[in-house]
């Protein structure tokens, strides 16, 4: 039932109502402006990273250090995960393929799944968690403890020194880790094929790569460079723009993982659509 307001209280009611409405609209406006400011910051950050990537004075030592950290520290994790994915994929697909009488397609199906989708995406998602969070936390704590400010007053360019080597290292190492994950996955598939059957390694490999074409490999590997760039950029952006309190470090690490994982899936979707269009 609609509330009836007595005439003598009408003025006060109108003022209260106006204040409430304007408070709500201010809240909405501030959310919109915050979103616009965030978007502008992202573009500004990307522009600065891009400009500094191609300007003079590349920090090669830092780049190598981060390549080693990203590659070496994710190596064991990617090996085990890749092997397990290949193994599980083989064990899960085997009964269905037997039903269709297509068991000899098993190695080829596992290889194509791993090359086109599973290998790159699983590697990227693991790295989004491992590398994205470590970049977010490391740069976030550098921001909180004023180390980034200290770099600036030492006439060092923080984007050039901290961000560019990390982004480029991630862009280079994630494709290499993906290739490694695919290789380990195919080996895992061979183990899987031999758990319930008996398949010679040479025969398995020849069946696995029998129908793999060059155009299966190129788009798959190309998209991993974008996965790497996205993980590096998101991790660095979240860490570099962390707030001033210690809780900001946790927030930066957490949002880096969530955003990077989501963007990896999004980039994968776009890459698949583009590949589909090109190959048609």
């Amino acid at each position: 039932m609609k509330k009836i307001v007595p005439i003598k209280n009408l003025k006060k009611y109108a003022i209260d109502k106006t204040i409430k409405v304007s408070e709500k609209s201010i809240e909405k406006t501030s959310k919109i402006s915050a979103f616009l400011v965030d978007t502008a910051n992202v573009f500004l950050f990307l522009t600065r990273v891009f400009k500094n990537t191609f300007s003079r004075g590349f920090e090669f030592k830092e780049f190598l250090k981060h390549c080693f950290q990203i590659g070496n520290k994710s190596f064991a994790l990617i090996s085990i995960t890749g092997t397990i994915i290949g193994l599980v994929l083989t064990i899960q697909s085997r009964p269905i393929l037997i039903k269709f009488g297509a068991l000899n397609m098993l190695p080829n199906m596992v290889a194509i799944s791993l090359i086109r989708e599973m290998g790159p995406v699983i590697t990227a998602l693991i790295c989004a968690g491992k590398i994205g969070s470590s970049m977010g936390a490391e740069l976030g704590s550098m921001r909180v403890t004023e180390q980034i400010d200290a770099l600036e007053v030492s006439s060092a360019n923080p984007i050039k020194y901290l961000i560019v080597p990390r982004v480029l290292a991630a862009t280079l190492m994630i494709p290499l880790l993906s290739i490694f994950a695919i290789t380990m996955g195919i080996l895992g598939g061979w183990i899987g094929a031999n758990i319930k059957g008996d398949l010679n390694f040479v025969l398995y490999i020849s069946q696995a790569f029998g129908k793999v074409e060059f155009m299966d490999l190129i788009p798959a590997i190309t998209k991993t460079f974008f996965f790497g760039a996205v993980i590096g950029l998101v991790g660095c952006y979240k860490g570099y723009n962390a707030g001033r309190g210690t809780e900001s470090v946790g927030i930066a690490a957490n949002t880096a993982v969530v955003t990077a994982s989501f963007l990896v899936i999004l980039v994968d979707l776009i890459a698949v659509q583009i590949t589909d269009l090109i190959l048609q």
């Binding site: 403890t145 004023e146 180390q147 400010d149 600036e152 007053v153 060092a156």
Partner: protein, 253 residues
């Protein structure tokens, strides 16, 4: 203590204003730092003291007003020119801001390699050893910052700042979080640096012992404005209740 007031100031701030969103941090601050002077900026937490020195190094950009450092208006400078001015400014951060991933030696070498590019490795090594000796820490060269105590970290930060022979030093609460003995040592070190390197310094603090040890002149900030300016003696003899609340000492019977 510096008596000559006719020398051109090394830092000249006029009508500085800065706000974060709706919060006005500095309303209208004007001050000058003379050559080889220790200027203490005093005030309660949250009055914009740290913001003031961050504006001088342009780590924060002021909304209004001018900041002239060694004859250059910092807000109008391009990045390359700003970096040239920054080479002449030493900034001691409140947290020390030592690079966690580097050893003490690498921390000290970092600004040296970027600012004095023509130095050879042996000259760099000699400079690192000399500067560490000046802050009284010669045996921590290969330690990581996490292995050092709070006082040692402060000294190493100070060493990293003075290693490039700055003309101006900006200290952001140099004695905060230290025990009284170490705090006194750091205050003495500030005086030693002033004498040895002939620096002009702005010291942000609310540690009254530090103020008494280092201050040539004091500026007190309140609610984003300059509340009072004068010598240590003038502040100690002030009848103003806000000023005397900082300077009164509690005696325990």
């Amino acid at each position: 203590m510096i008596e000559n007031t006719t020398i051109k100031p090394v830092i000249d701030i006029q009508n500085l204003k800065i706000s974060f969103g709706s919060l006005n941090v500095l309303n209208d601050v004007s001050l000058q730092l003379k050559s080889q002077e220790n200027l203490v900026v005093l005030g309660k937490s949250g009055t914009g003291k740290s913001v003031l020195i961050k504006c001088i190094a342009r780590l924060l950009k002021a909304d209004q007003g001018t900041i002239t450092v060694l004859g250059e208006e910092v807000n109008a400078l391009k990045t390359e020119d700003l970096n040239e001015i920054r080479k002449k400014i030493g900034f001691l951060f409140q947290s020390g801001a030592l690079y966690d991933s580097m050893t003490v030696k690498e921390n000290l070498e970092f600004p040296l390699r970027r600012i004095k590019k023509d130095l050879t490795q042996s000259e760099i090594d000699a400079k690192v050893t000399e500067t560490l000796a000046n802050v009284g820490l010669e045996d921590v060269l290969n330690k990581m910052p996490s292995e050092l105590s709070g006082g040692m970290r402060k000294r190493i930060s100070l060493a990293r700042t003075i290693i490039v022979d700055p003309e101006i030093m900006l200290y952001d609460e140099p004695t905060t979080g230290l025990d009284p003995i170490t705090a006194e040592e750091i205050s003495e070190l500030i005086n030693d640096i002033q004498k040895k390197y002939k620096t002009a310094s702005i010291i942000i603090t609310h540690d009254m012992e530090c103020v008494r040890t280092v201050a040539d002149r004091i500026i007190m900030l309140k609610d984003g404005d300059v509340y009072k300016e004068g010598s240590l003696l003038e502040f100690e003899n002030s009848t103003d209740s806000y000023v005397s609340s900082f300077f009164k000492t509690k005696k325990i019977q």
